[in-house]
Amino acid sequence: MRLNSITVRNYRIHRDRTVQLDPSLTLIGGPNEAGKSTLVEAAHRALFLKAKGTGEAYKAMTSRIADGHPEVEVEFSAGGQTYRIFKKFSGNNGVARLSVNNVPKFQGEEAEAELASILGIEAVSGGRGAGDRAALQWAHLWVWQGQSGDNPAAHATAQQELLLSRLQYGSGAVVLQSDRDAQIAQRFSDLDSENFTARKVAKRGSNLAEAERILKEIEAARTQVAERCTSLEQAIKDFQAADSAHRDSTTALNSLKPQLAVARSELRKAEELSRQAESLHDACKRAKRELDEFVKDHTTINDLRESLFALQDKLSPLTLQKAELERAAIDAEHEYGKTDKAHDESVSETAKQRLTEELARAVVDRFNTEEEMTLCQRRRNDIKDIRDRIERLEHDKSQLPELSKAKIERFRETEQRRTAAEAALGAMATGVELVCTDQRVVLAGCDLNQGEVRVLSEPTEILIGTAVRLMLRPGGGENLANAREELRALENDLMTELGSLGLATVTDAERQFADLEKLTRDLKADRKSLNSLDPDSVETRFEKLNKQYGQLTGQITRLASLVESFIMPVGQDDAEDLWRKCQRELDAADTKVEITKGLKDLARTTWQTASTSFSNLQSRMRDKEEQAEKDRIRLQQLEATHGDHTARTTTIAIRKESLEREEQSHRDVLGKIASLDPGGLKDLETRLERSVAGNDLSVKSAEISREVARHKLTNDGSVDPYVELKLADSRLENARDRFRSADRAARAVSLLNALFQQEQKSLAEQFTQPFVRKIGDYLRRMFGHSIDVRLQFEKSEFAGLELVRKNSQTGAIEFDTLSAGAREQLAAAVRLAMAEILAEGHDGCLPVIFDDAFAYSDPERVQSLQGMLDLAASRGLQVIVLTCNPTDYAALGAKQILLIGSGGTESQRARNAPPET
């Protein structure tokens, strides 16, 4: 089916307009409100809305600019025929006419029915919502403005039957699920979702969940009942155990108690004997202590007596020794007095000698100082002479001009240059000699005589005769004058400089400079001599010696007043002899002091030793004498209380005998105690007491346990726990059976659901593949090979339209999450693919109208879109594009129709021709 032309009259903004459409590609351009959409809407109304009818849809068609009812005429080709449908929408008087190959054939309802049959639809009658209902017709081919981004899967679902039959035919797949298949599959799907949640957990309220809940409740109840039975069994065991324990403990007590009584009686006997033994033991200890003390005193008396005798033996030789030591000490004291006096005398003598020696040395020193002062004075005189000479030389030097070596060099140089200039002048001068003449020759105004020679150094005129005048120019020009000028300047310079120094010639200057240099050398030599004499230190030294001399004179005067009979020497040698003599005498006096001191020290040591020995002996003797006195007094006291030796010996013998008797009694009692074994008895008593107490406790505890168990076992007969347990077990088993059965039934449903889905999917995939392939073909024209598309047929509808970017990590992108641009592009591809498949039932062609369908696509993408539209055209579809921006579609190669005004003022141009404006 292919649209050929559309004619509209009195239709909204169109007064009367006819548009011829291209069989393949038509581009209808024009600004907003130019009536593009209205035009294709009119064509759609003519094809799908009955002419006769009223309602909003009809009112909307009414012209705003002209009277008269809206009329639309559409010419189209189908099944090898050319049809022309004319409709006049005039309410209930609406007119419909259908011509076939330009021959009017049908009118009114017949025309409507025939048209619907050709288009394969049911015509929409007027009435409420007629416009919307009509719009749904061929909605998959007719992209209304603003709907280009809608998910096209819904359209595919709407056209499912036709689409599937085409796809089935095209794919060669003969299998397609039946209605019954679908019903059964749906039933198991519903049942499965009643049973399980999406996560495969039993759904609340389902049979399975209910069975599970009941099972859990019954399990919990069973546990409770079982616990009650276990508790009863335990109570029986507790009772039996307590009873047995009670019996055992009672038996044990019956045997233990008499054993304890016997043990206690024996223990009391042993305690009595212990007390006796303790008393005997104390008596023995006392007697023994008294005996020991008596024996000890007896021994002390004997010892004292012996020690007294020994002391007296030791004291008698010491008395003699004491007298000797006393005498020696007195002698030593006398000796010390003598040596001390001798020593004092020798010290006094030495002091005198030392003063004399000091005086002699001062005299010698003064002589030496005097000599040194004389030498020093001589050097001072030499220094004065040199200083006078230097003064003279400096005066001479000041009389000479100030010349330096550089100045002399300059003078010499100037002189040399002057001499050179003079020589040059000489060389330039021309000699003139009159060798012979017959005429008068006047040279420079003076006659030149034959043989006369003159030297010319300046231009000079020569007159020979009267007629000949020669001008001689020595040096060829001005050179001679320059040379002379230079010589004059040099001579002038030299004279000026020499004159300023008061000199006449350079030779004078050289001679004067030689004198100056000699004076300078002499001055330098004298100054060096002066420095070597070190005049400052000579002066200092002289002052120091002078001072020293004064001091020595003072010292000599002071010492001389102290030393008696000192004869002052007159010369230096005398003085030195005297000093040496004094030194010798001083040495001798010192030696004597040393000797007397040694003797004095020795005498003191001897005296101290003798004195110490004496006092030591004295104190030693005093201790012994005191000890002897004490011993004597003690001995007298002891003998007074203990009697004499015989009495003491008798007393000791009696006491020993008594002690032995007491000890024997003690041993006898101990023997009796040992035979009773009180330790063992005590242990036995403790053990038996512990045992009795333990058994008493066990009896009481067993009685309590027995009572507790008896109480637990007492039953009021309201329930039988064992029967309850049997019932609970049975209920549990039933519940398990039911759960197992519900579980299996639910799993069987799940299995069926899964199998149905699997089979449906596998079938659906078989025939959706060609559809998806075609969509892919269109998309590739836009996106190249980087894009794939997915579409699924599930549960009787097309769904899951997704874009897949190859080599991308993002995975598939659902249609609804794509950008608006990508949505309208993908939707267009799906519509074209769908149209292509459906076209097979319409002579291989169907029109696809895109009314401003790529509003969100950027110009670049619109360019690639054209490849897709072109592919559709090349596959036989009729593509009609409405746009405000026809220039964007310049590359489409479509027939362009530009709508400008509202009534027939459009321009048209054929495909591939430039647009007309």
Partner: protein, 390 residues
């Protein structure tokens, strides 16, 4: 000549836990009390001097007041002394029912004729000497008759010519109460060795524990339970009786068996070799119970396999039988194996290709063993049902 009734294993208060229907359970429990009335009727008819209960008057050692009162009421109605010993179910010992105050009260009020012998000592009456061997715990490892072996001859002489009757509860050489639905497995306890009892000393040994009526020796019998409480097991099991015993010191004993049971316990093994067998089973059951309701119990052991439709018919049959009988205990398994026709109708559904393919997958899964195959078989049945209801 002394005449008495020997009975045992009344197990009053038995819960019949596996019977879920409350009224059926109550009916089964009530029947155990009603049988005591039939024993009371036997007392009137056979004029025994007393009744001996060889253990297990109650099903548990902690029966409820209600059970105790019913028991005492029924025992009181017997009018003659009733001597009982504790069995393994209602054993003596600490906390036992025989010491519970409410039992003591009810016994005094309703059954003063009841004497419970809880001590292993000779018990002498005007007519007879009883040698009770009571169980004082549920599982007694020692032979409760040991004390009988130790009685000295001179001790017995004081009983003169009174017949000497032993009362004991336990297993003798391979006979003992088998495990039933309500009990857990137990074994090796409560063993009685009759061969070690002194020869010629006792005139009759009244045994309890084995629920079938069974003669062990000429003078040693299990009376069995007077009303059945479990499905029969083995040929030598003939429960549902009491014994009328006539004895005289030193003479052979005369034992007469009297039927007291009312309920019918059946057992049937059935193999399904083909789908028609469902109808055969229906026929067999019809023959067994006719139109009776609420008086029979059935243990049905099944095997074999059935097609999908036949399996549904079997389930319907079972449902109906279960409603009519007091209990149906089903054991074994009937596998689902679709018939070739069913397989064809499933897999060759050209009009419903998806269903057909799913069915083929399921058939493969169901042909195996194990849990997965079981689930697949259930799924097959569900799919089958869905196909027939859609």
């Amino acid at each position: 000549m002394t005449t008495f009734i020997h009975t045992a294993d009344w197990q009053l208060g038995k819960p019949f836990a596996r019977v879920e229907d409350f009224s059926k359970k109550a009916r089964l429990q009530q029947e155990r009390i009603l049988v005591l009335q039939r024993i009371a009727e036997a007392v009137i008819e056979y004029q025994p001097e007393f009744v001996l209960v060889a253990g297990d008057v109650f099903d548990s050692s902690t029966p409820t007041k209600h059970t105790v009162a019913a028991a005492c009421g029924a025992i009181g109605a017997m009018r003659v002394p009733v001597y009982a010993i504790p069995g393994n179910h209602d054993h003596g010992g600490p906390g036992c029912i025989w010491e519970q105050p409410f039992f003591v009260r009810e016994r005094q009020a309703l059954a003063p004729n009841l004497v419970v012998l809880t001590a292993s000592d000779p018990f002498e009456t005007d007519q007879i000497v009883l040698f009770p061997c009571p169980l004082l715990r549920r599982h007694e490892s020692a032979d409760p008759t040991v004390w009988l072996r130790l009685i000295r001859h001179d001790e017995l002489s004081r009983f003169g010519s009174k017949p000497r009757v032993v009362l004991a509860h336990g297993s003798v050489q391979g006979f003992g109460s088998p495990v039933d639905d309500d009990e857990s497995i137990e074994g090796g306890t409560n063993q009685i060795d009759l061969s070690r009892l002194p020869h010629g000393v006792f005139d009759y040994i009244a045994l309890g524990d084995w629920h079938g009526t069974k003669r062990i020796t000429d003078n040693a019998w299990y009376s069995g339970t007077p009303e059945r409480d479990r499905f029969p097991k083995g040929d030598s099991n003939e429960p549902g009786h009491i014994l009328i015993v006539r004895t005289e010191r030193g003479l052979p004993v005369d034992v007469e068996r009297i039927r007291t049971a009312r309920l019918n316990w059946h057992e049937l093994s059935f193999h399904f070799a083909e789908d028609r067998a469902v109808e055969e089973l229906q026929q067999r059951l019809q023959e067994m119970f006719g139109l009776r309701t609420n008086e029979d119990l059935l243990r049905l052991d099944v095997s074999g396999s059935l097609g999908l439709i036949a399996r549904d018919r079997f389930d319907e049959l079972l449902e109906s039988v279960d409603a009519r009988l007091l209990r149906v205990k089903l054991s074994g398994e009937v596998k689902v194996a679709p018939t070739s026709g069913e397989i064809e109708s499933f897999t060759m559904r050209t009009a419903d290709p998806v269903t057909s393919r799913v069915a083929r997958e399921l058939l493969v899964l169901a042909s195996g063993n194990g849990e997965e195959a079981d689930v697949a078989r259930i799924a097959l049945r569900q799919l089958h049902a869905a196909c027939h209801s859609t």
